[in-house]
């Protein structure tokens, strides 16, 4: 089961947003197939540093597929070849001896590059700040059992809520659209009674923030769904579209009109 392989890496290197970038090639010999992809990069980086060369910068944190920090487009696919998992869950057993692997950062206008393979995804935070929550302050909540939520609704809301905000949907989308990301939150809260009072306002404001950040529009190619590490379905995008139409028809509500936002 355990073995070693030699691989060639073509990696995007770029010192910072202002500098020009380009691909550099590295040979990695004797890579254990039990390693994860990121551990392989760790080893390459160790080697680079010992040669006095700057290590490759890449984002990572939990290394168990839940924090959404790791990214990378590997051979043209966000989070690597398999779908349904994050880069940190990709293992070298997926590769063969002498494979050439091209590693690029997530590319989108709304995800400016920080260094090498690291991008800035704070545009996702801006979208969430525009309404990705239920406006309840600490202490206001009634007893949890007051609210009855049918199991299938809770389950479907949970399907959407599983989004880890990694941005692979944006990276994979030919239009760098973040519709699946927005849809995940809108769909979660639209299906729950807690999300009811702000339903129209939320979808309009989140989409305004989405557009403002420079993400593209959805052209229903479903590349996002194919790479989503949490298998979030594009049916949530349909719900987002529905919610948007509904909000267009009903208007954002008094609250927003009063605050002049939007």
């Amino acid at each position: 089961m355990t073995g070693t392989i030699d691989i060639t890496l073509k990696v995007w290197r770029q010192k910072d947003a202002a500098s020009a970038g380009g691909f550099e090639t590295y040979e990695a010999k004797g890579v254990s197939t039990e390693m994860s992809f990121l551990e392989m990069l760790d080893v390459v980086n160790e080697d680079l540093q010992k040669k006095g060369r700057d290590p490759i910068a890449f984002d990572h944190d939990c290394r168990e597929g839940i924090c959404g920090m790791c990214s990378l487009v590997i051979d043209g696919r966000a989070h690597g070849p398999d779908g349904g998992q994050t880069t940190c869950q990709l293992h070298m057993r997926r590769y063969k001896n002498n494979d050439v692997i091209t590693v690029e950062p997530f590319r989108a206008k709304a995800f400016p590059l920080v260094r090498d393979l690291v991008v800035d995804r704070c545009s996702f935070d801006s979208i969430m700040q525009a309404g990705g929550y239920v406006s309840v302050s600490t202490g206001q909540a009634p007893d949890a059992s007051v609210l009855l939520i049918p199991k299938h609704k809770a389950d479907s809301a949970m399907d959407a809520a599983a989004c880890i905000g990694c941005g692979a949907c944006v990276a994979a989308c030919p239009n760098a659209s973040a519709m699946l990301f927005v849809a995940a939150k809108v769909s979660q809260l639209a299906q729950l009674p807690q999300g009811g009072p702000e339903r129209e306002r939320r979808v309009l404001n989140m989409m305004a923030a989405h557009d403002e950040a420079g993400f593209g529009a959805c052209s229903n190619e479903y590349e996002c769904e194919a790479v989503c590490p949490k298998d979030i379905s594009v049916s949530h995008i349909a719900r987002l579209n529905r919610e948007y139409l509904r909000a267009l028809a009903l208007g954002p509500g008094e609250h927003q009109a009063a605050s002049g936002a939007g």
């Binding site: 089961m1 355990t2 910072d16 254990s32 039990e34 390693m35 551990e39 760790d42 160790e46 540093q49 010992k50 006095g52 060369r53 290590p55 910068a57 984002d59 944190d61 939990c62 290394r63 168990e64 597929g65 839940i66 924090c67 959404g68 920090m69 998992q85 869950q89 293992h91 057993r93 920080v114 800035d120 995804r121 704070c122 935070d125 969430m128 700040q129 525009a130 929550y133 239920v134 406006s135 309840v136 302050s137 600490t138 909540a141 009634p142 007893d143 949890a144 059992s145 009855l148 939520i149 049918p150 809770a154 389950d155 809301a157 949970m158 809520a161 880890i164 905000g165 809260l189 807690q194």
Partner: protein, 637 residues
Amino acid sequence: MTLDAKIPSGPIEKKWDKHRFDLKLVNPANKRKYDVLVVGTGLAGASAAASLAELGYNVTALCIQDSPRRAHSIAAQGGINAAKNYPNDGDSVWRLFYDTVKGGDYRAREANVYRLAQVSVNIIDQCVAQGVPFARDYGGYLDNRSFGGAQVSRTFYARGQTGQQLLLGAYGALSRQVEKGKVRLLARREMLDLVVVNGKARGVIARNLVDGKIERYAAHAVLLCTGGYGNVFFLSTNAANSNVTATWRAHRRGAYFANPCYTQIHPTCIPVAGENQSKLTLMSESLRNDGRVWVPKKKGDTRAPNDIPDAERDYYLERRYPSFGNLVPRDVASRAAKKACDEGFGVGPTKLAVYLDFRDALKRVGAETIKEKYGNLLDMYHHITNEDPYKVPMRIYPAVHYTMGGLWVDYNLMSTVPGLFVLGEANFSDHGANRLGASALMQGLADGYFVIPSTLGGYLAAGGIEAVGTDAAEFSEAEAAVNARVSKLLAVKGKRTTLEFHRDLGRLVWDHCGMGRTEAGLKKLLTAIPELRERFYKEVCVLGGGMEFNQALERAGRVADYLEFAELLALDALERRESCGGHFREEYQTPENEARRDDENFAHVAAWEFKGDGKAPARHVEPLSFENVHLTQRSYK
């Protein structure tokens, strides 16, 4: 300095209410005059920042990742405890309190734990109101599961992603306040020092990780919500960015560090597979609800697990602990696994693993139900090991997971530096020597949503906090110290990488201060760590500059602090001459190999005071008095 925990008087059920009444309040109109700095945006930090902003304080939140949503609270899988007693199985605030104190091996502060149990019910209410999609049954009511160390079902869960959903709830609340302009959120910032002015915590020095600029932040109070120090072991279930730097730097500025030797080894993790492994992955304890732990009865049995008949399997937890069975607390389960492997019954290629088997549960309830309950966990296992847990028993082994020790805080969550509050895993207060499953989420949110909003007001309203700007001399001094440390690391220009040093340190600490600790081993560790530290400053290689995005530099700073902290960890373990919870001294065990406490001499909190580089830290003691829980030898038989 004497350690005054400021525990309110009166019966335990009334303490918190009485205390909240006694605390001075900040007038609503005055709250906006106070600046509060929150370092860390996990469950504790995000919930605190949001709740304080809702009250009207001006909050600045520093976050080490690119977004608060990535804090390591997100990786908590199994669930969150609350004394709701929805299943009608005899739970109560008192029972949750009792279980937690007992689970912590009687080394936690009663008053804190009782308060935790009290507010646990409010946490669930709050999270449901935020839209956290907890599991529900067909009637629409909330579902519960059971967890280690309890005989009631009080754990609320959202599939295997409870931490994620709770964190996203808190992140939502935080985002709402950012939108309202009440929270200034600064991502990719790492706190590198605490600024103390006239004896009070008044700000921090942080590094902007994107451009390397050293920045000053001033406030009327500082909240550290920066998590635990499990990565001192190098291999742990913690995230790569989890570090001790914030708490360690605060410690060096006067905050006492309490019980660092209380580290939790989680029994159900995926075993180490190779040399270059960078982290260990936890498999939620909830799996022990339906999975059965076993090893072959025959030493060195190399048969495939499914070929070993029941009669030749030793379900050792069920055998040794018939009443709790597979659901014994974590420390007990971890030691039992270690014992089985030490005695030669281990399985898998490294022989450092035991089986966690779903065969019987799959037969009993079917694959669909198991998938619904644990699907994502079993998939994760499949991804990592390339083995299908629906077909082959999982292999698991204990790994460092959580640290009960942390900065000492009083009942108000304030450290020994006035104005410095410590929340969540970063403090030491509620779990004693061992944390029960599904209690970390509870504590982080209790601290952030319900405790700090009251106690911070009490501190601020008491007055005496003069105006201090970032131009104060103390800020300049702290910034200069940070710059000097950065320059020092960059100047070494050695040949060994930070990762190599971290791995070396981890191995040392795991070998001598891991699941089993001995006096000889700890003493050896105490000489080995300073040697390694010395080598580090001679041989470490940190490329690049300080004024750029430089992950090697970030890591080097963290490892440098671990190299200091590890010594305190070893010293605390050496000085605590008893076994309790996660701290197991081989010399102190019962004939059945269980932890043997010494309540006579060690029923206290050990809080360490930093005395300067090269000087021995001072050990202070906060005696623990147990008025409501009867101290017994913990038994889960």
